[in-house]
């Protein structure tokens, strides 16, 4: 079965479910950092691996980035969530967290992992609740640090075929902090996701 097409009904349904889950994730992070997070209209699309880098709207392509990824699997659905930051935003987040350390390398890593845990964990939980599925999350791991975004994607694009991709650009109001949450589902997940959507669209 070709999965290249996603009907407007399905796309709209996945986008709305994304809206709710991204709001829950933003709420968690907003409370943690005591900030207001500006929420975008999320992008939900079928993407070729070669299109992934372009889909990342928050990321400044001239700057180095760092990223964390976390896999999820269960109920016939599998995929990977990635959180990508421009490296230049770490200091601002550290200031918000009142975090200070002599070891800036370690501090960056902590910020990266803490933020990823909140955003990815809450987002995936919100998604599962609405779809009425259960999946388990793998350990989050660093996908790359201080790397160029094109290289980061290139190293990883072999793992992906054409895929359902969700992209969310979180911005913190009154700051330059800006990150991209990217959720990629495996090709095999799409049929189950559509079945779950059918149930919601009834």
């Amino acid at each position: 079965m070709s999965t290249s097409e996603l009907s407007e009904d399905y796309r709209d349904c996945f986008q709305e479910i994304t809206n709710v889950a991204m709001g829950q994730a933003a709420d968690k992070l907003a409370r943690f950092l005591d900030v207001f997070i500006l929420l975008p209209v999320p992008n939900v699309n079928m993407l070729q691996p070669s299109e992934l880098a372009m889909a990342l709207s928050a990321v400044n392509h001239d700057e180095s980035v760092s990223a964390v990824c976390q896999g999820f699997i269960g109920s016939g659905i599998a995929g990977e969530a990635m959180l990508i930051f421009n490296d230049s935003t770490f200091q601002e987040i550290a200031d918000l967290m009142n975090a200070d350390s002599d070891d800036s390398n370690q501090l960056e890593l902590e910020i990266l992992m803490d933020t990823a845990n909140i955003l990815i964990g809450t987002f995936l939980t919100g998604l599962a609740e609405q779809l009425e599925v259960r999946y388990s999350l793998g350990q989050p791991s660093v996908l790359g640090r201080h790397v160029n975004i094109e290289d980061l994607i290139k190293i990883n694009e072999k793992r992906w075929k054409q895929t359902l991709a969700i992209e969310i650009n979180y911005k913190i109001e009154g700051s330059n902090i800006n990150c991209d949450l990217l959720i990629l589902f495996t090709d095999d997940s799409l049929n189950i996701l559509k079945q779950k959507a059918d149930y919601l669209l009834e």
Binding site: D12, E16, N19, A30, L39, L200
Partner: protein
Amino acid sequence: MSISILICDDSSFARKQVLKALPSDWQTNVFQATNGSEAVQMIPEKNIELLFLDLTMPIMDGYEVLDHLKKTDTNCFVIVISGDIQPDAVERVKKLGAIGFIKKPVNKEEIETLLVEFGLLVRQPL
């Protein structure tokens, strides 16, 4: 007598969810808008008395709609239905004049409670 209501959300799935959550015995004239700009045009045109408003929308978002209604002194109840559940979001829309905030996914009871509270739906005692 039926009340004219407008459901404004860029997602047709979300608008359907709101429709499904309305009290079944409530007499309404339902209109729909896919963004804020459509909504502010329709409100005076269709004499909308109650607006169900999403916040995150393209072209004109929910905050801008509330701001516009306030500036133009438009007499229309607004209930915000949003996935943006940050405490600040709730506070901001209330300040901008929304009578209620319901978090997505919508639930029937919450809508009914608000409608009764603001006299938009009258429940006869049994």
